[in-house]
């Protein structure tokens, strides 16, 4: 399974990964429309952590023994046995936030818009390279 690797030495904290993640998970898929019309309902699934001059972008690690899948009470959180990708079916999610409690990386967020569901990285389903990786200006994220 291809994963996103973090090269924190070169994360410049610009947060373009977050911006493009939001666009990718917007309805319009267009940056201007997404930010002008759809905010605050679009949530970035990648988070830039920053202390002083150190920063890195982190998103779901798609753990092999994903605790969020174990903890999910509604069966919304599943791990694809073939691809290894952990995905939350937002229609099934009941918003109990158990996954958030157990996630060791803190990369699941509450989506309190219409869905009220757990929001997490889906490795940009359908894209060859996740948008956060593709748009990082300093190659601080790698997909391989």
């Amino acid at each position: 399974m291809k994963r996103i690797y973090i090269n924190e030495e070169y994360c410049i904290g610009c947060r373009l990964c977050e911006i493009y993640c939001q666009v990718k998970h917007s309805k319009s898929n267009k940056i201007l429309k997404a930010f002008k019309k759809e905010l605050p309902d679009i949530i970035s699934r990648v988070l830039v952590e920053e202390i002083g001059c150190n920063s890195f972008a982190i998103q779901c690690r798609h753990c092999s023994d994903a605790p969020c899948v174990e903890a999910c009470i509604s069966g919304a959180m599943t791990k694809n046995p073939n691809t290894g990708v952990v995905i939350c079916d937002e229609k099934k999610c009941v918003g109990c936030w158990s996954c958030i409690m157990v996630c060791p990386y803190g990369v699941i967020k509450r989506d309190l818009s219409a869905n009220k569901a757990a929001s997490k990285c889906d490795l940009c389903f359908g894209e060859e390279i996740p948008v956060c990786v593709k748009n990082c200006p300093n190659e601080a994220l790698k997909f391989n």
């Binding site: 994360c11 911006i19 201007l32 930010f35 200006p137």
Partner: protein, 506 residues
């Protein structure tokens, strides 16, 4: 009153229809030009401190920002240009020397742009470099007066001892930029690119970081007036040694790295106490003549077992031809000449813009002089000082250079936008800075890749130009001024360059 005299050099034009207040510009500007105003929920820009590096414009995901040069609000005056007026305002306030970075931006004649190359037609065939072999490999170092070959047991053997040489895959080297003036990541990019492309980079006068020892076989180490970081190990981790006498941007001027930039890493690399000013004296205090220079050259040759070329870097000044002749006679294996448009991390503006001569004229006069004296083969000639494209490289070689040094072009390949604020240490592109928040902006993996691509592209273009001229080796072009013609040049300029005017045939 005085503070009001400062004017913004740039205007930040923000298209509100496109700005999504993502604050990428806020986070990326080291000059605090942009700020998010939570009351207005909008990003506001204060153009007064903008240096025109275009970092925000480049990173803005929606193209909402445009950094534009602001027309100065002075009454038009041909004699008193806005620059003159602004400089007087700045100096009458500070009472100090005006500092600047990079090469001169003044409209002095760029002779490269007045030189045109030849191409083969009918009487000699041009060569397609994609189909036929094309040799641009270059050797830097002295050549013997003659060679003796001995035949023994049916095979030939070279009897003459050839002086040490550098072998370059392309006639381009990365010029001296010290660790201190540029970041470690920038140094590493240059070192790795030189090593992967099989050419050389130059450490500059700031010593050699231990982590870069692995690139020793592609390193030229510099011995400058401050002698920073020079010891036996430094000389052993190099393929060649260069004595720096002068720099094109500031001939006759020393250097000064302020104490606050002498961080732990830089202090150990330069071998000076942390936080102390690193001062390079204007002259080498042990070199007051060609004879003194010869002593240092041979001291360094002795220290490196005569196994490495030792060269001398000088800036192009009025008497460059006799100086170069002296340097060859002092025993240098190569001479590096830096023209007055060459770059710098920091130099007094008045020096940068007014001292020295163009590299094209210096190169032509040095090559001519050394040939006349019959000593051209004893040293290789490397020229630098604003080589901007592959055609500049070809023209330099046709004028007599063995190879060229590039530095500004290399920085531009790594992202530099020539804002000329290197001396502030706030380089937004992570190149001319030691601030850990900024240095990480240059990922050496990307830097290396881009530098290699540049060398590759220029090498291809050099081959195309050689092929077009009907020659298949860079050796056939070297000093072959028949391949050049001048346009818009006076007879005197043509004579110094040793070329004919366009339209003049053999």
């Amino acid at each position: 009153m005085t503070s009001k005299l400062k004017q913004s050099e740039f205007e930040i034009l923000r298209d509100e229809n496109k700005c999504i207040s993502c604050e990428v510009c806020v986070r990326t500007c080291s000059n605090d030009v942009h700020e998010f105003d939570s009351d207005d929920s909008a990003v506001l820009s204060e153009s007064l401190s903008c240096v025109g590096c275009h970092r925000c414009e480049t990173l803005c995901p929606t193209g909402a920002i445009k950094v534009k040069k602001r027309d100065p609000e002075f009454k038009e005056n041909f004699n008193w240009s806005a620059d003159h007026i602004k400089n007087i305002y700045r100096q009458s306030e500070s009472g100090g020397v005006l500092l600047t970075g990079m090469g001169s931006d003044k409209p002095h004649t760029v002779y490269w742009d007045h030189l045109l190359l030849n191409a083969a037609q009918v009487t000699n065939p041009s060569i397609d470099p994609l189909r036929e072999p094309m040799e641009i490999k270059t050797f830097i170092g002295g050549k013997p007066d003659s060679i003796k070959i001995e035949k023994s047991n049916g095979s030939y053997k070279l009897k003459t001892k050839i002086p040490p040489h550098l072998e370059l895959e392309t006639p381009i080297l990365f010029s001296a930029m010290s660790y201190g003036s540029i970041s470690y990541n920038a140094c590493k990019s240059l070192a790795a690119a030189a090593s992967e492309f099989k050419t050389y980079y130059n450490t500059g006068e700031g010593g050699l970081h231990q982590k870069l020892y692995e690139y020793a076989s592609n390193t030229i180490v510099q011995v400058a007036s401050g002698r920073f970081g020079v010891d036996k190990e430094y000389l052993s981790k190099a393929a060649a040694v260069e004595i720096k006498i002068g720099q094109g941007a500031k001939p006759g001027i020393g250097g000064h790295l302020p104490g606050e930039k002498v961080t732990c890493d830089i202090s150990s690399t330069r071998m000076i106490p942390e936080g102390t000013d690193a001062i390079s004296p204007a002259p080498h205090h042990d070199i007051y003549s060609i004879e003194d220079l010869a002593q240092l050259i041979y001291a360094l040759k002795e220290a490196t077992d005569y196994a490495k070329p030792v060269g001398v870097k000088v800036s192009a000044v009025h008497n460059i031809a006799p100086i170069a002749s002296g340097i060859v006679r002092a025993g240098a294996d190569f001479i590096a000449i830096d023209g007055f448009r060459g770059g710098t991390g920091a130099a007094p503006q008045v020096i940068r813009d007014n001292v020295g001569i163009p590299i094209e004229l210096a190169l032509a006069s040095v090559d001519t002089r050394l040939r006349e004296e019959g000593i051209r083969h004893k040293s290789s000639l490397i020229v630098g000082g604003s080589i901007r494209s592959s055609s500049d490289v070809v023209k330099a070689i046709a004028l007599g250079a063995d190879a060229v040094y590039i530095a500004t072009a290399a920085l531009v390949a790594m992202g530099c936008h020539l804002c000329q604020k290197c001396y502030t240490g706030k380089c937004n592109w992570g190149i001319a800075t030691q601030d850990p928040y900024l240095t990480k902006r240059l990922n050496p993996e990307i830097g290396t890749r881009r530098l290699k691509s540049l060398l590759y592209a220029w090498s291809l273009e050099i081959k195309e130009m050689l092929g077009g001229a009907g020659i298949n080796a860079v050796e056939s072009l070297r000093g072959n001024r028949e391949h050049l013609r001048g346009v818009n040049l006076s007879n005197r300029e043509l004579a110094i360059l040793g070329i004919k005017h366009a339209g003049e045939a053999w």
